[in-house]
């Protein structure tokens, strides 16, 4: 493979990492609080607000059921508003964030709901405020689950990022389609797939390792 092609792959890899990294950060920034709220706002819960809970739940479901490629195209005006352009890696971060935030929220909700309700009651009986319960009980106790959720989200984002080539987002997926498929370069396709596999393995291993490290539930002497 020529140095030019290798250079293309390196550049595309950085584009992918850039889009996925920033989108994961922003997705978590929106998804984590949203997920905590969804997990604690049903009737009788910490921040009981059943109506808002149902409305937000419906919005999350609607976003999640929209195919990503349609979401990308549908929100182009919004993307232009936020990013100033609708083309390129930076613009691609907008739809990636909008797609990942509700996904992360649902994963966070599930992880938070796994925390033993007895612990919430315990902290309440010590006079902890709802906010204290979130930061001192729910998030630390759910941390292993939260890290695995974030890992899953990053892996999914790597997959999504392949589709933003449709709006000139660049990245590995775009490279694979344009060179590997449209220009009949199977070796390029193969290289792109190998890099993606390696990235997914790396992210998953790192996530598993971190989750294991913070999990004190199963650790033995």
């Amino acid at each position: 493979m020529s140095p030019e092609l290798i250079n293309l792959i390196v550049q595309a890899t950085f584009e992918s990492l850039y889009m996925v990294g920033i989108a994961a950060l922003l997705g978590t920034a929106f998804g984590l609080p949203l997920g905590v709220f969804l997990a604690t706002s049903r009737k009788g819960e910490l921040f009981a607000a059943p109506v808002i809970n149902r409305v937000l739940g419906a919005i999350v479901n609607a976003t999640r059921s929209t195919p990503f490629i349609i979401l990308v195209v549908a929100i182009i005006p919004f993307t232009r508003l936020v990013a100033g352009t609708s083309i390129g890696s930076t613009a691609a971060i907008v739809p990636l964030t909008i797609a990942s935030a509700p996904f992360i929220a649902r994963l966070v909700e599930a992880a938070i709901r796994e925390v033993d309700g007895g612990l919430i009651e315990t902290a309440s009986s010590f006079g902890a405020s709802p906010i204290q319960i979130v930061f001192k009980v729910l998030i630390p106790e759910a941390l292993p689950g939260l890290l695995l959720a974030l890992t899953l989200a990053v892996v999914s984002l790597l997959g999504y990022s392949a589709m933003v080539g449709a709006v000139g987002g660049g990245g590995l997926g775009d490279l694979g389609i344009r060179y590997g498929y449209q220009r009949f370069m199977p070796e390029m396709m193969l290289a792109v797939v190998i890099v993606l596999i390696a990235l997914v393995q790396l992210v998953q291993s790192a996530g598993d390792y971190l989750a294991r490290r913070v999990n004190r539930r199963l650790r033995h002497r």
Binding site: G118, T122, S124, S125, G127, S129, P140, R216, R219
Partner: protein
């Protein structure tokens, strides 16, 4: 008359109803006219969890609240620690009406109520020391103060060496010690124990109950033991409240309540504690018709301080009968003897009649179980 005096202690003591009355002047916890009704919700019918609850827990006491599952124990706990509001009535803890507080005021009041749980409820993500620090962090203590207090508490509950251990590395007894230290962290005036030993083996249970007794003695903390286990009440409590189907059926000194149980549920708890079944070898020999040269089998209930000590000897001497002791179980609850003797009375119907009359004269409840050859 000596014989009569020493046996008289076996007689019923005056009804103890007044001892835990809500009028108790020096009460740590006072429940006044409490009822708790959970309304019907999504097709599930409503539940009257508690009704007409009126009692006071004396300051500095160890008071047991005993009941079967579903008796209303959990609801009672949640009312006392302010997690729920009563449907009617007031909950006064250390002079403050917990049932009238909300928000920040309630959270402040809750710091004077420590709580330990059946399943310990420790945070798996925190070490023993950090678990104990939690209520102090919540109360906004300074880091250095927390550190000193935690070291003090770990020593108090006897696990100073487990400072950096996570709950998954501790035994059940050690976890409950962390729980106790955590509950005492903010120097509460009352400690609620919600089935705190129900998940522990008998030996560990004994050690934990001893620790609670020490804490009560040394720190003067009022302890409320919510439990379904008679053995816990018997070992530790001086006062007891018996709950059944949302009502207080008896309350008073442990010794009085369990030497003279009036309610069926109290009697069943007592039977659990002292055992009222006959030895198998004896039970299998008992028949309903008298046999020539055999004995009548009579069970005598023994209740009171030293009540049973000389009963058999005196019965034999005064009635001139060769009384056989077939089985006996006498235990001590709150310094009072509680148990039963199973006697074999020879000499036919006349001797049995005289024996029963004699026992009834001295107020020993007795029943004829049958005959053995």
């Amino acid at each position: 008359m000596n014989a009569h005096q020493s046996l008289a202690v076996g007689q019923p003591i005056a009804p103890p109803a007044a001892i835990l009355s809500a009028a108790e002047p020096d009460a740590m916890v006072r429940l006044e006219g409490i009822s708790k009704i959970y309304p019907a919700y999504r097709g599930k019918p409503g539940v009257n969890a508690l009704q007409d609850i009126d009692f006071a827990i004396p300051r500095g006491s160890i008071t047991g609240v005993i009941g079967r599952s579903g008796a209303g124990k959990s609801s009672l706990v949640r009312l006392i620690n302010g997690l729920e509001k009563p449907t009617t009535g007031r909950v006064i803890v250390d002079g403050r009406d917990i049932s009238a507080l909300a928000g920040r005021e309630l959270r402040l009041a809750q710091r004077s109520i420590g709580m330990i749980f059946q399943h310990f409820n420790l945070l798996s993500s925190r070490t023993a020391a950090d678990n104990i620090a939690l209520p102090l962090e919540i109360a906004g203590w300074a880091k250095a103060d927390i550190k000193a207090r935690v070291a003090e508490l770990l020593a108090l509950v006897g696990i100073a060496d487990k400072h950096d251990r996570y709950p998954s590395e501790l035994s059940g007894g050690q976890k409950q010690r962390v729980g106790i230290a955590r509950a005492l962290a903010t120097r509460p005036s009352v400690l609620l124990s919600d089935e705190a030993t129900s998940a522990l083996d008998p030996q560990t249970t004994r050690a934990i109950l001893d620790l609670l007794a020490n804490i009560n003695r040394e720190l003067g903390v009022t302890i409320v033991l919510i439990t379904h286990e008679m053995s816990v009440v018997r070992q530790l409590a001086r006062e007891v409240v018996v709950l059944d189907a949302g009502h207080v059926v008896e309350s008073g000194h442990v010794a009085d309540i369990f030497t003279h149980p009036r309610h069926a549920i109290t009697q069943s708890f007592l039977a659990e504690a002292i055992g009222d079944s006959l030895p198998v070898s004896l039970a299998s020999r008992i028949v309903s018709e008298p046999a020539a040269g055999g004995q009548a089998v009579i069970r005598v209930q023994v209740r009171g301080a030293g009540a049973g000590d000389t009963l058999v000897a005196r019965l034999a001497r005064e009635l001139g009968l060769d009384v056989a002791l077939l089985s006996a179980r006498i235990d001590e609850i709150g310094g009072q003897h509680v148990g039963s003797l199973v006697l074999g009375i020879p000499g036919g119907e006349d001797a049995v009649t005289r024996t029963l009359a004699w026992l009834s004269q001295y107020q020993f409840p007795a029943e004829r179980l049958g005959y053995v050859a």
